[in-house]
């Protein structure tokens, strides 16, 4: 019910059809990584995947936003199938903050990731955090698909509460893989460039 409502509302307000430019919407284990400018990003990425793929894709969401509030938590966990991570975990010694993501990949499911770690205000994404690199190194067989989310910062900019109707697009690019002895910084730059190339 909430699922259908959310999907209908998303289509009505922002459209957000997926454009598969560099790869096909096939059921493979993948990490979709995208630029991040709006809270709508998570919902739009989820809505852009065909139902069969959507069922096995888990958006990685920040526990400090999506984990708070009864409705938001319900939407994140039950509707979007999100994996919540603790963004401030790196400073603590409570174990690896990426552990829930490794668990998801170990189950054979796909991830939707925003490697900037926070929302930006620009068209071009900011520098990527290292999470994507660690996931790619641990699971080399998982396809890494760059995604560009167009126009969402217009629909719900950082600091606003009410989304407005603006046509948005989700562009899926050509998968890339971590080179055998590729440096972390090089890889993250290359991944970021792949997202920018779709903008």
């Amino acid at each position: 019910m909430i699922r259908l409502l959310l999907l209908a509302l998303t289509r009505f307000l922002v459209g957000g059809q997926g454009l598969w430019i560099g790869c096909a919407p096939v059921a493979r284990q993948r990490i979709y990584f995208a630029n991040h400018t709006s809270h709508l990003d998570t919902i739009l990425m989820w809505a852009a995947l065909p139902p069969a793929l959507r069922a096995r894709a888990h958006p990685v969401a920040a526990a400090d936003y999506w984990g708070t509030g009864v409705l938001r938590r319900h939407v994140a966990l039950r509707v979007l199938n999100a994996v919540l991570i603790d963004r401030k975990g790196e400073q603590r010694d409570a174990g690896n903050p990426l552990a829930p993501l490794f668990a998801t990949l170990a189950d054979g499911d796909s991830l939707i990731l925003f490697p900037e770690g926070t929302r930006g205000a620009e068209r071009i994404p900011g520098p990527f955090k290292s999470g994507l690199y660690h996931l790619a190194r641990e699971y080399p067989d998982v396809e890494l698909v760059p995604v560009y989310l167009d126009n969402l910062r217009q629909a719900l900019p950082k600091g606003s509460l009410l989304p407005v109707p603006i046509s948005c697009a989700v562009r899926f690019g050509e998968p890339l893989a971590l080179g055998p002895d590729e440096d972390k910084a090089d890889f993250l730059t290359r991944a970021r460039d792949a997202v920018i190339a779709l903008s």
Partner: protein, 309 residues
């Protein structure tokens, strides 16, 4: 719905059937690559026409409220396309939200309750003044005039102007159902577009404004415009006008529709786009189909109101 209305929609369906058959015949006869592309686009356009005519007929069958809701949705999608092409700043978020969530429902509500004096000033006066206020409170002055005018232009064209088409329903005549007036406007304005396209493809040589709209030609405009005026005149029996009156008003619709298409094409190009969107296959966006209506509807509405009520 009046039985005559069924006949009119039957006539439109007949024309579309003829167009569909022509499309199929043409697709067997074309030989060049460019020709194939044109015919494929033509077929997509005709297919989309079937859907649009069906929706329009449905609105007529259900009456005024459904027609208003349908036009409100058309305004919504047109405004969405318009504002999607005009990058806004976060400071304009409030103004954009007001345009969508306040002024679209308000404008169509005013049409619905037949408050004519207010529906003609709500957006040109109150929205005109309120929207820049919502932006100025955020304190950003960069490109302020440019940003404010984009939202105002969008709201005027896609909501204010388009709402004048269903507003025809509230004009009152003795022994006359004004739904026919709306049918008349939409038929003449869209037929004018279609005939200008057809005449342009068949005989078009001299471009009118190559920088603005490369597909508009003198031959297309004159041939299509005259043909649409003649068809409009021949529809005089569904209007409250005489034969000559219907011809004159059709001419007004054709000219204002043409100018609307031209101006909106220039707006679109100044924003760096070729189509307003991708919503209607073959045509582009919703606003690509409504561009001539934005100019024709308010002009026709006020001409009719001035001369006939």
């Amino acid at each position: 719905m009046d039985t005559r209305m069924w006949w009119l929609f039957g006539g439109v369906a007949g024309l579309l059937l003829l167009a569909s058959v022509t499309g199929v015949v043409l697709s067997y006869r074309v030989t060049t690559e460019a020709g194939r592309e044109t015919v494929a686009n033509l077929k997509a356009r005709i297919k989309a026409w079937w859907v649009m005519v069906a929706l329009f007929a449905l609105a007529f069958a259900f009456g005024k409220v459904v027609t208003l809701v349908m036009f409100a949705l058309v305004s919504f999608y047109c405004l969405r396309e318009f504002l999607s092409l005009t990058p806004a700043r976060p400071s304009d978020h409030g103004a954009i939200a007001a345009a969508f969530y306040l002024f679209i429902p308000l404008q169509y509500f005013l049409v619905g309750v037949e408050w004519v004096s207010m529906l003609t000033i709500a957006i040109p006066v109150y929205a005109f003044l309120l929207l820049p206020v919502l932006s100025v409170l955020r304190g950003e002055t960069d490109d302020f005039l440019l940003r404010a005018s984009k939202i105002q232009w969008g709201l005027m064209l896609t909501v204010f102007c388009i709402s004048h088409a269903p507003a025809l329903l509230i004009l009152e005549f003795e022994d006359y159902d004004s739904a026919f007036l709306l049918f008349f406007l939409v038929t003449v304005v869209q037929l004018s577009d279609v005939l200008q396209y057809v005449f342009g493809k068949l005989y078009g040589k001299r471009k009118i404004a190559p920088g603005v709209s490369p597909s508009k030609t003198v031959e297309g405009f004159v041939g299509g415009g005259l043909a649409a005026t003649v068809v409009g005149a021949l529809l005089w029996w569904i209007t409250p006008f005489s034969f000559l009156g219907a011809a004159a008003l059709s001419f007004v619709i054709v000219i204002s529709g043409f100018l609307g298409g031209l101006v909106l094409s220039a707006v679109k190009r100044s924003l760096g786009a070729k189509d307003w969107g991708t919503m209607i296959a073959g045509h582009g966006g919703a606003l690509d189909r409504m561009d001539s209506v934005t100019f024709a509807a308010p002009v026709f509405f006020h001409f009719v109101r001035y001369f006939h009520t």
